[in-house]
Symmetry: C2
Subunit: 424 residues, 2 copies
């Protein structure tokens, strides 16, 4: 199924970890790699040329958002998401499922409830839907065939199917598409998670069929990844991984609930990866904190997307390895709004060569943030993207040199938590 020009090569293995090359129609991604989030076809506040300057290799856009606004056909008419947003590197899109459920406030346990809005259908009234309250009520209804949800933009009703998701991602033209799945939450019990898991697998088959039936729109080949779900239940995770791995997807994404602790995540990744073929690329959805990344790379994950580096930047949270005195920074984050930076002429990180650290002091960045100047979030986002790119460049170099333990020591050695789990 893989067209010759796109695919994945494992270049080198170190334990479960690997160095790889994800070849797409818009260039290759050296893995392990961070995929920066550009939800609405823009990495918030950063010019795509500057995104490139940070060392960012690939972007992750959200199907749900672009489907609602500006509309996928509109993006298609522009030649796809790359040309629309002037980013000529690789792009991934999700299936739309995660946002359908999360923005639809779907986290509840009422499987089989009948909604007054959709009588006779399996409906899940939201526990809380602040984003939708102004839109006149919010609801996501998950059926065997489709999902009905309200737009967070204008409250309009939409029906999404696996086929819709594939068609929309064909219109958007992402290099890596994801199969439509239901993302279960830690609040779902095993019975619900099993039923959902089985449905996600049936949807995966339909996505593959639709991918074959719906040709690429923009003259270049796209890849389709299946998504492993199964919550934090060993049997369900292993079963999902085996099932998805048994289908002819170009790659495997690991989604959903990874448990409540760092140790749980390790466990879930261990179960999952044990069932996956070594030859295909593995993406971990929604994870991007340093300890998790280092652990997941050691478990054999190849690519990662996460909103945290860009979202935190907008609140003044600048990523840094250590504080100036060498002590750990909570979550590797320097809060630039803090008054201690008001007269601090140093850059965010003294050894960082990013376009922000090369030119601007903490004091200037704090000034911009305090004055609500949009350049503040922009410059901090640039640094955080460069930080993530540097982290992954060091990861790749450490795997190459077979020095991953040294890397883990360098990045996590100052933290009190046990670190052995991060070793390959």
């Amino acid at each position: 199924m893989t067209a010759p020009e796109v695919g994945f090569d494992v270049l080198l293995r170190r334990g479960a970890a690997r160095l790889g090359l994800l070849r797409t129609a818009h260039g290759a991604v050296r893995t392990p790699a961070f995929v920066a989030v550009g939800t609405q076809a823009t990495v918030k506040s950063v010019d795509p040329e500057r995104v490139r300057d940070t060392g960012t290799q690939a972007l992750f856009a959200n199907t749900y958002h672009l489907y609602l606004r500006p509309g996928a056909e509109r993006v298609a008419a522009h030649g796809g998401v790359h040309r629309f947003m002037a980013w000529d590197g690789p792009v991934m899109t999700d299936s739309g499922g995660f946002q359908v459920f999360s923005l639809g406030a779907s986290i509840d346990h009422g499987v089989g409830k009948v909604s007054s809005l959709f009588p006779g259908m399996e409906a899940r009234p939201p526990e809380a839907a602040p984003r939708l309250s102004a839109a006149g009520g919010s609801l996501v209804r998950v059926g065997e065939d489709d999902v009905v949800f309200r737009s967070h933009v204008d409250g309009s009703l939409h029906v999404f199917t696996p086929e819709t998701s594939v068609r929309v991602q064909r219109q958007l033209g992402a290099d890596v598409m994801l199969a439509f799945d239901e993302c279960t939450s830690p609040l779902h019990d095993e019975a619900y998670t099993r039923a959902s898991n089985d449905r996600t697998h049936r949807w995966a088959e339909r996505c593959l069929a639709a991918f074959e039936a719906e040709p690429a729109r923009h003259g270049y080949p796209q890849m389709l990844y299946g998504v492993v779900q199964g919550g934090a239940f060993e049997r369900l995770r292993r079963e999902s991984a085996r099932t998805i791995a048994g289908m002819p997807f170009h790659g495997i994404a690991v989604g959903g609930n990874l448990g409540r602790t760092h140790a749980d995540m390790h466990q879930v990744l261990a179960w999952t990866v044990a069932e996956l073929p070594a030859s295909r690329p593995r993406h971990l959805l929604g994870i991007g904190d340093v300890p998790s990344v280092l652990a997941a790379v050691a478990r054999g994950l190849d690519t990662f997307d996460c909103v945290a580096p860009t979202r935190n930047a907008r609140n003044g949270g600048a990523l840094a390895l250590r504080d100036d005195d060498g002590r750990p920074l909570a979550n590797f984050r320097r809060n630039l709004r803090n008054a201690r930076y008001a007269d601090d002429a140093r850059p965010i990180e003294e050894d960082c060569a990013c376009p922000t650290c090369a030119r601007f002091s903490r004091a200037y960045l704090r000034h911009l943030l305090q004055a609500d100047e949009p350049l503040g979030p922009q410059l901090v986002t640039v640094h955080n993207l460069a930080f993530m790119a540097r982290l992954f460049a060091e990861v790749r170099e450490a795997l190459e040199r077979d020095a991953y333990a040294d890397l883990v020591e360098r990045w996590l050695g100052h933290l009190p938590a046990p670190r052995a789990a991060a070793l390959p």
Copy 2:
């Protein structure tokens, strides 16, 4: 008084208009030129490297804002505003006066009223002060010696004098500083305007004395411009221009009320310029619309600052010479939020080579604006700065070639209004 390395050269005259070179410690500005506004030491949302890419030669920062936040001494400790904001080109600062009066909501006519807050002093209670209402009452009190005002940031009371203004601008380190003045409004009568004018002239003397007494802080020479006021009253304008021109300022800024119509502005500029020496640079404060710029250049003005190109960009107002059918655009502005652009794959202007037009469609820009994505205002601001730089580059070229009438025809020929007034 002019240090040899800074100053102004008139290179060529065409009628009253002239081509010039404003030499500053941070490079020369080819005039006529637009000075882009960067109120809080940032051109809102645009990286200074990108500002440079637009062809922008110089920036205009606001003393009042930087004095209040982050504080002028803090900027001084960083080596001045250039290093603070990573802009190594020329910077102008205003005196603080305009914002003191406008943000202090000073427009009233109650000269000589006694405020309950400042008993015994000449006080001017505001007619309306929405920006300050939350700060527990707002007031600007103009005295002979000083101005007392409340901060729009935190409501604190501040005293500004001509000497304060000079000291703060020395701390900020702008290449061109302005003398502290009172900016009168069209609502002020001739008697108030005359009294204010006389006070502004006394303040101008104090600014010059302070400029001599307060040495440059950052190791390079700065220039000080005097400000001509006088409202729309011929006698007062001429008197102010003669008085300010009689003082050893490096240049002359024309401020305040220029009347209510385009014709009034012409009149005021004619009276003013008639009294000014030809050798010194002339800055027109707060004017940046195309017809006014072309007219004022013809009257002999050299530099211009205006918030409109950047402020309008933030609302989706993109500058363009003509609509696609060749017809005039109201105020040379394309409203990119308009639904007609939703599927428009063309750039803002088809013949524009700016970093925005080279890469992005109207449809993409509209999407960003509709989705409240900060990249939208950023990209439109970049275009508008490039538009202003292009306008002035064409102005300089037209003066060089002695073809200003052709330029005016090209830029204003499609407008219904009489255009002869714009000719030199």
